[in-house]
């Protein structure tokens, strides 16, 4: 098997709030196999050229959602995205930056916590298993595979322009709304989170690393807003 190599020029946004007044870009060159992922480039920079570079990752297989970065302005999972000869690597927007490529997820986690993303029951859980239609269970599992990587939130033009929490949160609310045991008013939560500000551009669907469709979740909520949920609350 033949392998070809590639030399990548990576401009990485550096910012240490303790030392820097303004962010700046530092250029690195990395040579490796041409099927390197962006994360391989970042790790190589960290291990060989800039030991003080802050970045984060965990699983390396696109499951944990922690390695989200913007490459040439497009939010991606660094462990999944193939490297390019010239890359400008930045932390995800619009989140506060802790250092270099690491964003502060405190607000994200707080938002998830506020949404109470467990089934809100009218009666206490009996402890017995509750049967769910297999097709619905599979659909719920699919919705539950959201990585919370914030790639969709970073890509969303409505988040940048309007008071909208982001597609990821609406997707989670949709997951709960479809759960048969949940009786919370998820539609109202979605509206409160700015769901109506969505442009319907489907960019979140196109860029989702888990092949989910937050845009479809938003559309389903909007349809319910017009025609009703058909579910007792």
């Amino acid at each position: 098997m033949t392998t070809t190599t590639i030399t990548v020029t990576a401009e990485i946004r550096r910012f240490d709030p303790a030392q820097d007044a303004e962010p700046h870009y530092q250029q690195f060159q990395v040579t490796g196999m041409d099927n390197m992922r962006v994360l391989d480039v970042i790790r190589s920079v960290y291990e060989n050229q800039a030991g003080d570079l802050a970045y984060q990752f965990a699983c390396r297989i696109g499951r944990c959602g922690t390695c989200g970065v913007r490459v040439n302005g497009v939010p991606v999972l660094a462990c999944q995205e193939r490297c390019k000869p010239h890359m400008r690597i930045e932390p995800l927007t619009p989140f506060p930056v802790l250092r270099d490529l690491v964003i502060d997820r405190t607000e994200v986690e707080a938002r998830y916590s506020e949404l109470h993303l467990t089934p809100q029951r009218t009666q206490a859980y009996t402890g017995k298993a509750e049967a769910i239609e297999p097709a619905l269970a599979e659909h719920l599992c699919h919705l539950d595979s959201c990585l919370a990587c914030m790639v969709c939130v970073s890509a969303c033009p409505a988040v940048a322009e309007r008071p909208f929490d982001g597609p990821a949160f609406v997707l989670k609310l949709r997951h709960m709304a479809k759960h048969p045991a949940d009786h919370g008013n998820r539609l109202q939560q979605a509206v409160d989170g700015g769901m109506l500000e969505c442009f319907g551009c489907d960019l979140c669907t196109q860029l989702c690393p888990a092949d989910l469709s937050p845009a479809q979740a938003i559309r389903e909520f909007r349809k319910e807003l017009v025609f009703g949920t058909g579910k007792e609350s």
Partner: protein
């Protein structure tokens, strides 16, 4: 294998792909602006050309009828009206539950709109 058990794509080239949603959103915004500007300019221009009280202004603007007969302006206007209408309808239908693919729909709407624009160019060319 069920969708839930499948691993995500193991390789992405998201930085290379055409962002259909961005193109559609920007075109929708531009065409909407074109329509608004056209309506405003059209009202003023027709006033100048038709209202006797503006005869002096009309005499000072001999270029106005020439501008009004530019084929590319009509092509741009027709493209804008058709694109803005169809994309708006597409957004409405999808929110009412109709499944319409975001990739194909954008280019289909651009193609139909371009046909209307082209028709204007050909009409002015006498074809």
């Amino acid at each position: 294998m069920s969708a839930a058990a499948r691993l995500p794509r193991n390789t992405t080239r998201q930085t290379d792909v055409v962002q259909h949603g961005t193109i559609a959103r920007i075109l929708h915004r531009i065409t909407g602006s074109v329509i608004v500007v056209f309506v405003l300019v059209h009202v003023v221009a027709q006033s100048v050309l038709q209202v006797p009280a503006f005869a002096a202004v009309k005499a000072g603007a001999p270029w106005l009828p020439v501008v009004q007969n530019q084929s590319w302006i009509h092509a741009l206007l027709y493209f804008s009206i058709v694109f803005h209408t169809l994309y708006g309808l597409k957004l409405l239908l999808t929110e009412l539950g109709v499944r319409i693919g975001y990739r194909v729909s954008v280019w289909a709407i651009v193609a139909v709109s371009a046909l209307f624009g082209l028709r204007e160019v050909l009409r002015y060319a006498g074809l």
